[in-house]
């Protein structure tokens, strides 16, 4: 774990790391990765990954709209919106 890696993953995470906290974060992340590296001591060559304890694919339901007419209710909790859309800073010049 080094400064370059932390810069990359913090950008992937859309997080900005303050300069004064950077050293501690590099150190903490390095320790955590070192801690989880003990998983490499186990032979898992024949083992299928387990993503979910139920091992079922997510159930589908009929494609019928059940939650209707929520636009106003949902736009009301947005930080910025007009009658139809969420508003964000200009994207296209």
């Amino acid at each position: 774990m080094d400064k370059k890696t932390v810069t990359t993953i913090s950008y992937l995470s859309r997080l900005k790391i303050d300069d004064e906290k950077e050293e501690k974060i590099i150190n903490d992340l390095g320790n955590i990765i070192e801690f989880v590296d003990q998983l490499n001591d186990v032979d898992t060559s024949e083992i299928d990954p387990l993503a979910n304890p139920l091992e079922k694919t997510a159930k589908t339901r009929k494609d019928i709209v059940t939650a209707k007419n929520l636009k106003k209710k949902l736009l009301e909790v947005a930080p910025s919106a007009n009658e139809d859309y969420f508003l964000v800073p200009r994207v296209v010049e």
Binding site: F35, V36, L39, V42, P49, A58, V77, P79
Partner: protein, 483 residues
């Protein structure tokens, strides 16, 4: 006439025998919350609506199972019209337009949601020290953590402010605070309780459950919390038993798995002695102890600290300052809006886990970490599957020791992660597990963990209830024993 430290059934009886009105119950709850506000157990109170609902019940008495029962809801469940923060600055102003299925189920059963309890930010923590809204205090000592992440819930029940609370458990967040605060709590089988409207942390691990003073009250709550829910695609449609039915079944001949790979030497001596005394208690009720092996158990914490951050980094990408929650000011473009909002909105532990998640999922590291952890996760689950062929339940201490002092784990994340050493494996395997008080160390409570087989909450509730019939650890309160 007080409801403090009364069980759900006792409060129901007091109401139905007109010893106390619904309004008086709720008024007492808010007077207790006010009296104990230094605990910082609640983030948001729902006083006006609660009193109104109680008055309606006084005018039109109801025979619903939880009619008039005051319940504290963890601030991770969306509650329509009532602020829901998940312990985070980024949701500081969020008033959900809908309620979680668990909240709907409990309110449809008549309960009164008196407020939203404090918690570690996004449920990431084991001491309630990561909450944006400040530490919760353990009622057993003003310098002690209540555990986490459901620390506010545990503190509120332990202080007698409410008879029961909801919690959620991703790696021990119901059981560890239950142990540290001297109360009883159960994490059901993954899929038993709908996750719809629960703010997601790690979707393959998260599960909601009740926290109360007794196994009986937990069974009572669980009966109302469980449902098959089309809105949660991992919600199970298996039959839901009456969890109270089996509480008094005899334990004669039942088999308790004792994990031979567990290294108890690293634990506080008193924890080991208390654990062994509890096992003797179960033997005297006719249960048998059987040695079992869970050879990959020691890998559950590192497995969890790949799987949970990976899922969290994905789940928490929805907090972007666009659709709900806080938005940072003075940004020049959309990307800066995302970055500034997330950087100001999330606390240190949440950021740390998002970064770890992004790292283990990133190109070049996915197989080495994420896939590897999922493979070890299967080995852990296989260990449990093998063990449950010959036993009914597994017992371990819930925690390595009693409540620790606020700030004492310093700033070393791994020391805090090891708090959940005994609890995490049940989440990885999706199994039901509970914690109940089984002793005190220097006037601080400690808990016993009972892990059950898939969908077998009834058996662990049965063991817990029989233990509580024979012992009175669950009756101890910070003020002395309450029978």
């Amino acid at each position: 006439m007080t409801i403090k430290y009364k069980s759900i059934k006792e409060i129901k009886n007091m109401i139905s025998h007109k010893e106390i009105s619904n309004k008086e119950v709720i008024q007492e709850v808010f007077s207790l919350i006010n009296q104990f506000q230094d605990l910082n157990a609640f983030i948001t109170l729902n006083e006006e609506n609660s009193i109104k609902k109680a008055e309606e019940l006084d005018n039109n008495p109801s025979d619903l199972p939880l009619a008039g029962i005051p319940i504290a809801q963890k601030d991770l469940f969306c509650t329509e019209g009532l602020r829901t923060t998940c312990g985070s600055n980024i949701l500081n102003n969020f008033i959900p337009p809908y309620s979680a299925t668990v909240i709907e189920n409990l309110e449809n059963a008549g309960c009164i949601s008196v407020g939203k309890t404090n918690m570690d930010e996004f449920a990431m923590g084991s001491s309630n020290e990561t909450s944006f809204f400040g530490n919760v205090i353990n009622p057993w000592g003003k310098d002690l953590v209540p555990g986490g992440s459901s620390g506010g819930a545990a503190s509120a029940v332990a202080a007698g402010l409410v008879p029961a609370a909801t919690g959620t458990d991703t790696g021990g967040s119901i059981r560890q605070p239950a142990s540290l605060c001297g109360i009883t709590g159960i994490k059901p089988t993954y899929g038993r309780v709908s996750r719809w409207g629960m703010i997601a942390f790690a979707s393959s691990l998260d599960q909601a459950g009740p926290m109360a003073r007794t196994a009986e009250d937990c069974a009572f709550m669980l009966n109302e919390m469980c449902s098959h829910d089309e809105k949660d695609t991992t919600s199970l449609d298996n039959d839901i038993p009456d969890f109270e039915e089996n509480l008094n079944s005899s334990l004669k001949g039942k088999k308790i798995g004792i994990v031979s790979d567990l290294d108890l030497s690293s634990l506080n001596n008193d924890v080991v002695e208390i654990y062994q005394n509890s096992l003797k208690e179960f033997e005297s009720m006719g249960a048998e102890l059987v040695d079992i092996s869970l050879p990959h158990l020691s890998l559950s914490v590192p497995t969890y600290y790949v799987v949970a951050p990976a899922e969290c980094s994905s789940n928490l990408s929805r907090f972007d300052g666009v659709k709900f929650g806080m938005r940072s000011e003075d940004v020049k473009d959309l990307e800066e809006l995302y970055i500034k909002t997330r950087s100001e909105g999330f606390g240190n532990e949440v950021k740390r886990r998002i970064l770890i998640g992004s790292y283990v999922l990133s190109a070049g590291y996915y197989d080495a970490y994420y896939k590897k952890a999922q493979q070890v996760r299967r080995l852990i689950k296989n260990d449990f599957d093998n063990a449950f062929k010959k036993i009914d339940v597994i017992m371990t201490p819930t925690t390595r020791g009693p409540a620790f002092k606020i700030g004492s784990k310093g700033d070393d994340p791994i020391q805090m992660y090891l708090e959940d050493l005994f609890t995490i494996s049940a989440n990885l395997a999706g199994l039901p597990a509970m914690s109940l008080p089984n002793g005190n160390i220097e006037n601080k409570p400690i808990g016993l963990q009972i892990i059950g087989n898939f969908l077998d909450e009834s058996t662990i509730l049965n063991f817990a209830h029989m233990f509580q019939n024979e012992t009175n650890w669950h009756m101890y309160t910070p003020e002395g024993i309450k029978q």
